[in-house]
Each structure stands twice: as structure tokens, then as C-alpha cells.
């Protein structure tokens, strides 16, 4: 009896070990491996999601096709990175002047719990007037972020509040909805504005 249990135990142990190895392989090299860094976002035409813009209008990726598009993620309770990104973008748009009026510029929240349509409306109102604010159901936000190969994470802070870690890059798509390039958070204006011009003029499939 004793011996039999030991054997069973051993077999189970081997099973667990095998499973562990398999799980390890799956996560590291197999289909479950994390996507490589810098993986390209899907074309907008391949994305599927439904959100609401800051005027209460139902929107989706289809609304962005037909004009060049700039998209970035953030949340309105973000005191540092997000207002900085928004004010950089406002500055780029001012520099582009009339050219920018042909663009879609969309700020998508990763914090739909606090960023209601009203909150987004008030917030985007302080920045360049062509910037739209999109929010929606949690599962829809997750789909958008997945399509962009971006990420976000809710992080509790002391005092019972929370903050959001999130991709801070600005994504650029051409008028057909093909990904062109992205502007990193710390990229200076001298690089950012030409990249936007490329999205405005490019109809070749996004050479990065």
C-alpha cells in the first residue's frame, strides 16, 4: 500500500513535472510566448471594437479609415504623462496648421471606470479642438489595446486609489488605415512632426 502510494506519487510528480515543462515551453517558445517587442499594430481595417466618443457618438475603427489617424492611450486621472502627451500633440498640430485638419486625432482612455463620456468631454476640451476622446466598456477597451499591440495595467496606490500603467507612444496610420509608425514618448518635435507628415502623405503600405 505504502509502496503503491509512493509510485502513484512519483507518477503524479512526473506528470506535474511534464506539465510544468510544457507550460514553460508554451510560455517561452510556444504559441503562448509573449509577442515580440515592437510588434506592429493591426491595420485599422482588421480591428473590431465599439466605443463612444466624447460627444456620445458610437464609434469604431471604421470611423478612422479615409483620413490619416493619430491615436494614443491614457486616462484623465493621469497628472504627468498624459497631459504632457496631449499638450505635445496640441503643439505638433499647431505646427502642422491646416494640414492637421485632415487628420483624426483620438485619445482612447484605458480607465473607462473613471473616464465617462462627460469626463472625456471636459478633459479634451482643454486641448487642441480636433482631439477626440473615446471611452467605452472595459472589454472593448481591451480589444482596442490588443489590436494596437499596446498594453495597460491597473496599479493600486497608497490611499486606496489607483493609477494606470499604459503604452504612452502615439500611433500613426495612413488614410487607408495601415499602420505607418509611432512616436515614442520622449521623441522631440523635430522627429515627431515629420513622422506625422509621413502619415499624412503616405499611401504606401507602412514602411517603418
Amino acid at each position: 500500500m505504502q509502496r503503491r502510494q509512493l509510485l502513484l506519487c512519483g507518477a503524479a510528480g512526473a506528470g506535474v513535472l511534464g506539465l510544468t515543462l510544457f507550460v514553460g515551453w508554451w510560455r517561452v517558445d510556444g504559441p503562448g510566448a509573449p509577442e515580440p517587442k515592437g510588434q506592429r499594430p493591426l491595420p485599422l481595417s482588421a480591428m473590431e471594437f465599439r466605443l463612444t466618443d466624447h460627444e456620445g457618438i458610437e464609434v469604431g475603427p471604421g470611423n478612422l479609415i479615409g483620413r490619416p489617424t493619430m491615436v494614443f492611450f491614457g486616462f484623465t486621472y493621469c497628472p504627468d504623462v498624459c497631459p504632457t502627451t496631449l499638450s505635445h500633440i496640441s503643439g505638433w498640430l499647431e505646427e502642422l496648421g491646416d494640414e492637421a485638419s485632415e487628420m483624426n486625432v483620438v485619445f482612447i482612455t484605458v480607465d473607462p471606470e473613471r473616464d465617462t463620456v462627460e469626463a472625456m468631454a471636459e478633459y479634451v476640451g482643454y486641448f487642441h479642438p480636433i482631439i477626440r476622446g473615446w471611452t467605452g466598456q472595459e472589454d472593448q477597451i481591451a480589444r482596442v489595446v490588443e489590436g494596437f499591440r499596446a498594453s495597460y495595467e491597473r496599479v493600486p496606490t497608497e490611499g486606496g486609489d489607483y493609477t494606470m500603467n499604459h503604452t504612452a507612444s502615439v500611433f500613426l496610420f495612413d488614410a487607408k488605415g495601415e499602420f505607418v509608425t509611432m512616436i515614442d514618448y520622449h521623441e522631440p518635435r523635430e522627429f515627431a512632426v515629420p513622422k506625422i507628415r509621413r502619415a499624412l502623405t503616405e499611401d504606401v503600405e507602412g514602411a517603418k
Binding site: P79, E122, H166
Partner: protein, 156 residues
């Protein structure tokens, strides 16, 4: 625009309050605070952030240990970081040591004075007092102008 003034007496405090340009009101001889600014808030539920350059003009290293302000119940020095995947995060920066002759910049996307639990809204055109506390017990109080929500720097 570099405002670089150092004050150690009450007269200076008074002059500043009546509107002469001087960000540093009082405090440690060896600390100069320049170009302080902040963005207006929407209400009091969202945290605010303030920026400035803190310069150590003394002979010894200085360690910035904390913040205090009547504006917010939980002011704290934070640092935003962006990793190689482009993901930004923010966390308390802990104590910050400034070597003699060096300065530390609190600026957008990096170190910032995070103003949590605002007691009142930060209104464009206003100012508030922020006290920097150092490990030697020294304190420096700065008057921080509140600029628009879309401000990019101390010039607006």
C-alpha cells in the same frame, strides 16, 4: 527665463507675496528653486503635478526627503518612467540626493511633485505654496504658479 533668487529673511517673504518675482520664499541658504510651475486641475478628484529645478549651491550634498503643501493632503515626489516597450508607469521616487553644485529637474515625464488628495481645485492664474523638506531639517518654501491644463513648461 531663469528666476534665481535666494531669500533667508522675512522681508524677502513679504516682497514675494506682494508680487515681486521670486519663486523661493525662504529656507536653506544652499537651495535655489527655479522655474516652478504646475497645471490647473479639473476639480479635486484628480491628482495634480508640479515641476521645478532644485539646485544645490552649497558645499555639501543635500537630500530632498519630502513635500508639504496646504493644497494637497498627500504630496509626494514621484517619477514617471517609460520602458523599452513604450509603457509608462509612475511611482514614488523616494529620497533624492543632490550633490554640491548639481541640480535636479522635476519635469514632465520624469520626476514630479505629485499632489494627491487636493484640498481645493488648482485654478489657472493662481499660485500655491510648496515646502521642500531636506534631510538636514532644512525647509524651502516655493510659490508655484498654476498654468493652464495644456501648459508645456514654466512659460505656459
Amino acid at each position: 527665463m531663469v528666476k534665481k533668487l535666494r531669500y533667508t529673511n522675512a522681508l524677502a517673504v513679504l516682497l514675494t507675496v506682494v508680487g515681486l518675482s521670486a519663486p523661493a520664499l525662504a529656507g536653506s541658504e544652499d537651495v535655489v528653486v527655479e522655474n516652478a510651475w504646475s497645471r490647473a486641475s479639473i476639480g479635486v478628484n484628480r491628482p495634480g503635478a508640479a515641476y521645478m529645478t532644485v539646485r544645490n549651491t552649497g558645499e555639501d550634498a543635500l537630500t530632498l526627503t519630502g513635500l508639504a503643501t496646504p493644497l494637497a493632503m498627500m504630496p509626494e515626489i514621484h517619477e514617471s518612467k517609460t520602458n523599452s516597450d513604450g509603457v509608462s508607469s509612475m511611482s514614488p521616487a523616494g529620497e533624492i540626493t543632490i550633490e554640491p553644485g548639481q541640480s535636479v529637474a522635476l519635469e514632465p515625464g520624469g520626476l514630479h511633485a505629485m499632489l494627491m488628495k487636493l484640498q481645493e481645485p488648482m485654478t489657472e492664474g493662481g499660485t500655491f505654496l510648496l515646502t521642500l523638506t531636506f534631510s538636514d531639517g532644512g525647509k524651502v518654501t516655493v510659490e508655484v504658479p498654476i498654468l493652464g491644463i495644456a501648459a508645456r513648461g514654466p512659460e505656459g
